[in-house]
Amino acid sequence: MRVALFVPCYVDQINPEVGVSAVRVLRRLGVDVIYPERQTCCGQPAFNSGFFDETRSVGRHFIDVFEKERFDYVVCPSGSCTTMVSHYYPFIFEDLPDERERSEALGGRVREFSDFLVNVMGANASDLGAHHEAKAVFHTGCHQRRELGLLREPRELLENVEGLNLVGWEKEELCCGFGGTFSVKMPAVSTAMADEKIKALENSGADTLISGDSSCLMHLKGRLQRTGHDTRVLHLAQVLDQKNGG
């Protein structure tokens, strides 16, 4: 099994440890991981702001980079960036038959991290020997929840992590308030949305917040820190990467 890793730009620049954990977990399952070094960003910030021409231009670069590689799947530790490629590239290239076809072909082979582990590799956390002591809640990013419909996969993985007590929380279907540029265009509403999640987090009694999207985590962590919370914030890949005592 050969996988081309798609590392979102903010993971590359801000949370590289998430990419590192993803590589380790994949290798532990015997996957041959390659990293196309000319990759940059999927273009989602421009897309969400309505700059479709600029998005297409960035999207073309993305498709060019990955088309040159030989792989079985592209795997991405983000539901949001996966969706950009799998769902919204065909959307922005709708009227351009050639690129639409190429984006659909590539999009069909892009898998979100937990999707790949569970549905392609048939892996579970016990196979990985994952061990992490915490009482945690899991936040499903909105793209992962709705466009990708991957609700079961991360939970299945986390439930098999030794030492991890995964608890439910109120209104877990609500968005964290990030929304890309929304967070700076409508900061008060965006922050109020984060506060609603944080209230639910407090009520759950969890000491750790886990998600498959580092962008949601960046937003919630930013607000948690500002409001004096010491909740641990981890990406799913980081939790799965932890072994006994790790």
Partner: protein, 489 residues
């Protein structure tokens, strides 16, 4: 034009200019204020929380719901593709039954038609059942202003709408017009109308409303309603209500006027079996509302009820220009309010922040479409694009995608500021050029050095300040992933 406010409206902001006729003010500032209003938040939370729970339960118990949703979408799609034909058909059928039909290009034409009708009839009292279409065109205010000489008494008879009217307020939700008011506020408004202090309990308030509204029902010369659905093949108009007021509005006065947006059509009577099953479930979490009324023409010989005279106004008001465009799906909406209830933005701001008749995701989509983007340019951005609206929509309208297309239209039509345009040009150039991307990362690491404090970036000016004002911003990592990869993982 500023008009003298009646005394009863003194204590509150006059919100009657919040239809599509008046200017739609910026969402941003209103949303900011609303998000910090604890009392408002509690009221919105209470209503939407209950509505969502009830909706989930009742839809879960209907195994065919996903299939109904697909059928609803297809029916609306087919309706819009042949709307001209169906409009003619409903008009022919209503006329054949003895009703009058008027095609109104805009709100102005509706106001003229109803105002002139009231003049001809020498009407004094007009009762109304809840209607978003008439809210959209600010019918009450405009009749009062433009036909001041008639001295019409226009009375909303839906309890929530009536309380809003008494307060000089404006509905903040498609289904629950005064969900933004708590019991204390409602008691104040009704006490003022009663001229005495009423106790804050549902029974006392309800019985006052019932008594007062009953007088109006009996005195009415004209009844005005909206329409939930209009059936082309039979000329039937359906109203779906809970309070029974619509029946008194449509059957007591001699004249009944229906104001129906042209998108409310369905081709066949049997199509209602799809929509009626979805509407109440999605809107209020009921299987059916208490009253489901079908009105086919005026009272016929030998019939016991119904108005003697019936007028069906088919209102366009910007809808037909969406036909056949990438925004056509916005016309499939059946006004159930489900997208408002699940929207995390609406839940923080309530409906008034949207500054127009329609709020929540559907409001953020159709207000700019019906009114023009220039007067409502914040609205397409009033969403984190989480997609909860699309998931909840009983017709499957991809509201989040329509919001994206509206954002794109703003770019295409040059409505963006220079700063944002340049920023995304820069983004494009950086992201399609790996060398430039790498250099930018390096530059960022240099620039941020003096800005780092305790593991975060210090509060910043400019657009990033909008983040750092309320949230910590993580710095760029010491080394990007690509460097770690090269060094070996």
């Amino acid at each position: 034009m500023e008009t003298q406010k009646p005394a009863r409206r003194r204590e509150t902001e006059d919100r009657r200019h919040e239809g599509l006729v008046s200017r739609v003010e910026g969402f941003n500032e209103r949303g900011r204020k609303a998000a910090q209003d604890k009392e408002l938040h509690d009221s919105v939370e209470l209503f939407t929380g209950k509505a969502v729970a009830a909706r989930n339960a009742v839809l879960h118990a209907l195994p065919e719901a996903p299939e109904l949703r697909k059928r609803a979408y297809r029916i609306k799609q087919g309706t819009m593709a042949n709307l001209d034909r169906y409009l003619e058909q409903i008009a022919d059928n209503v006329e054949a039954r003895g009703g009058n039909v008027f095609f109104a290009e805009d709100g102005e034409a509706v106001v003229r038609y109803i105002g002139d009708l009231a003049r001809r009839k020498g009407a004094k009292v007009v009762t109304k059942a809840k209607s978003m279409a008439t809210e959209e065109i600010e019918l009450n205010r405009r009749l009062e202003e433009d036909y001041a000489d008639l001295d019409l008494e226009i009375v909303e008879t839906d309890l929530g709408e009536w309380i809003a009217q008494l307060a000089g307020d404006h509905p903040s939700h498609i289904v629950g017009p005064i969900l933004h008011m708590n019991r204390k506020r409602i008691t104040e408004v009704l006490s003022q109308a009663a001229g005495e202090e009423l106790p804050p309990d549902v029974e006392a308030l309800g019985s006052f409303a019932r008594k007062r509204l009953r007088e109006k029902f009996l005195a009415a010369d004209i009844g005005v309603t909206g329409a939930n659905f209009g059936v082309a093949e039979t000329g039937t108009v359906a109203t779906i209500t809970n309070e029974g007021n619509a029946r008194l509005v449509t059957s007591v006065p001699p004249v009944h006027v229906i104001v129906m947006g042209i998108e409310k059509l369905v081709p066949r009577f049997e199509d209602l079996s799809v929509f009626v099953r979805l509407l109440a479930r999605s809107g209020t979490g009921q299987k059916l509302t208490v009253y489901t009324n079908f009105i086919t023409g005026p009272r016929d010989e030998g019939e016991l009820d119904g108005a003697e005279e019936l007028h069906l106004i088919l209102m366009d008001n910007g809808r037909s220009k969406l036909l056949g465009t990438e925004f056509e799906e916005a016309l499939y909406c059946i006004r159930c309010g489900a997208c408002l209830n699940v929207c995390p933005v609406y839940r923080q701001t309530g409906g008034h922040a949207y500054g127009s008749t329609y709020s929540g995701p559907i409001g953020a989509v159709i207000t700019p479409l019906l009114k023009g983007q220039k007067d409502a340019k914040d609205l397409p951005h009033a969403s984190s694009l989480c997609g909860a609206c699309w998931e909840a929509c009983p017709v499957g309208i991809p509201l989040h995608e329509l919001l994206l297309k509206l954002r794109n239209q703003q770019v295409e039509e040059g409505m963006k500021g220079k700063g944002e345009t340049l920023a995304f040009k820069g983004f494009e150039n950086t992201m399609k050029n790996p060398a430039l991307y790498k250099i930018s990362g390096k530059a960022g690491r240099l620039v941020q050095k003096p800005l780092k404090k305790d593991g975060s970036v210090r509060p910043l000016p400019g657009p990033l300040g909008a983040w750092t004002d309320s949230r910590d911003l993580p710095p760029l990592a010491e080394k990007p992933f690509r460097d770690l990869w090269k060094e070996g993982i």
